[in-house]
Symmetry: C2
DNA sequence: CTGAAAGCGCTTACAG
DNA sequence: CTGAAAGCGCTTACAG
């Protein structure tokens, strides 16, 4: 590696000042066209690499945005991330990603790293149990925060997520409309706003239809294919003999359908199953999964947009932005008929 | 947000020099125990945030490592990333992630960003068509590079990947051993080292078994579930009536199995299907997928380790590290019997 | 064991 | 339109 090329290297080689070089490279109208051309050519010729650390030390803007979610291996988050990425790319912002795996400590470490790097802002799906103080840590140090997918109670931070209670009611009502009366709820936890809202939406929909709610029909558990797969045995041996399952998300639903098939039954015929999220994968599952579109790409795009707007100085008034979910009816649900 | 706390704020409030504060916070033995305690307490009390940009401007070490892969939404890369993440976390390195979606331009932009941020190194699964010069750009500017999953010809950069020709031969031989003679190859492309190696491994295995190779039995295509799903129609209508399919990867295999089921056939009974990678998902597919373990976690762990060692000054001799794949026999393959 | 001073590579008033 | 100089917040010789 040859000697380091910096602004002053270019300046000296051309007999101009570093101020002029700095302005020229950033296309300032203060610099004469000919000077600018000359400088840019020379920068290219020398293989100059702009030192963002030095610049950001001076400007206190880093061009870095942090993103932290539960787990990027989960396609639900991956779809949100893809939307965030494309929005940030378009605005030439670099993003730094981290999983928190619902560890508040891991999340806090990441927030501290972002502060140390001078990150301009952060988009986060908060870990279960995220304390107010951790969000204040970011805000108080000048790092604007946007929440996605989950809410944190009692704090005024812009939040973008789907309307979970409404969405799960769509799925539950769809099954009730097909004649199902014994409907289990598979997967999920009460520890997140999402979890509470989804269970409540399911309960409310049943009550509204005059169906008695049996808490034993709920099988909480991991929100993964593996989780749904493992719940199948339990589900199939319930004494209440449920004919349908409202699943926490598509992953659980696909896992559950696999488990049902292993037991020799046919999902979509013997048992109706609904998912949640409408992942890209839902439509090519077998049977194609009836599910609820949860607006991942909308959430990602809007959250990124909101952060960029905030950085540009605009002031948003609304703190909670609920995306309206939509039903996607496919082959995994069917009218009730005797088993 | 209160006034910015920096080293000098702490120094002044305690009547010591910034040099002492700097050393104390980094646990230098040069500082007296009592002084260090006092300084650390004060830093905590004031809510001091270490400015890594300033430090790295001085030390020219950023603690940042770049990782770029084709697509983190692909579970194959996600599994590698998880291993990289855990290794880098353990060593308190921050990583910045990017997808290149096989765009050489997007990849180059990312490499330039990393250079501008003073990234200490980069781990990359090179985009199709990555030119030598792009890798040299990194190396020549003092950013060590490690390749994963794919090779770039004619360049001496440490590379960690599975032995594709060997692995695909395992799958092909497994099917031949079950009596299959008309075996299709589904998915993939000739544009990557992986693609060429896998096709060659399949061809060689057939030849070795005395089976004539029919190029029409190959259906190249996207390496996704969707790709496998869409290939099913084509596959099932082949005049040669293949009884088995060697798939490019697990995603293609799972998609193909879904497509086969949609057509009313039973994968693992009517048609044997092998995958590649042994994703977490392979074992819970229905039928459980016979596949080839491709060592994602090994690749990630070893690549991260190699980069950290290189940063620590050690000199590796070997450039190509091939992980030996292993057969995982499950229910998607069965002895040949008349259709 | 501690302090004064220089310097990492930029950008930004300010002067001309 | 261009230049000289200060300063962003650290770390690192060097001196004491």
């Amino acid at each position: 590696m040859a000697q380091k090329i910096k602004l002053s290297t270019i300046a000296e080689s051309l007999g101009v000042s570093t101020a002029t070089v700095s302005l020229a490279l950033r296309d300032s109208p203060l610099v004469a066209d000919r000077t600018r051309e000359k400088i840019k050519d020379q920068a290219r010729a020398l293989g100059y690499i702009y030192n963002r650390r030095a610049a950001s030390l001076r400007t206190s803007r880093s061009g870095i945005i942090g993103v932290v979610v539960h787990d990027i291996m989960n396609p639900f988050y991956a779809e949100i991330l893809r939307a965030i990425e494309s929005e940030l790319d378009r605005n030439r912002q670099t993003f730094i990603l981290s999983n928190h795996y619902d560890s508040v400590e891991k999340q806090r470490t990441f927030l501290e790293t972002l502060l140390q790097l001078g990150s301009d802002g952060v988009i986060m799906s908060p870990a279960i149990g995220t304390p107010r103080d951790d969000l204040l840590l970011a805000e108080n140090n000048g790092m604007p925060t946007i929440l996605i997918a989950r809410s944190v109670p009692d704090i005024d931070v812009p939040t973008f997520r789907g309307d979970d209670a409404y969405g799960i009611a769509l799925a539950t009502n769809h099954l009730i409309g097909l004649g199902h009366r014994v409907i289990a709820m598979i997967g999920g936890t009460d520890q997140t706003s999402t979890g509470r809202d989804r269970y409540q939406g399911y309960v409310d929909a049943l009550k509204k239809a005059g169906i008695e709610v049996d808490p034993a029909l709920r099988i909480p558990g991991p929100r993964t294919k593996q989780g749904g797969f493992e719940a199948a045995v339990n589900f199939l041996s319930m004494p209440q003999k449920p004919t349908a399952a409202v699943c926490w998300n598509d992953l659980v639903a696909i896992g559950l359908m696999n488990g049902i098939q292993r037991a020799g039954l046919v999902p979509g015929r013997d048992i109706s199953v609904t998912g949640y999220d409408d992942l890209e994968e839902a439509s090519i599952a077998t049977p194609a999964l009836t599910t609820v579109w949860n607006g991942q790409s909308e959430v990602g795009r809007m959250a990124a947009r909101a952060l960029l707007d905030k950085l540009a100085g605009s002031h948003a008034e609304d703190y909670l932005h609920l995306i309206k979910p939509e039903m996607r009816i496919r082959q995994s649900t069917a009218p009730l008929h005797p088993r």
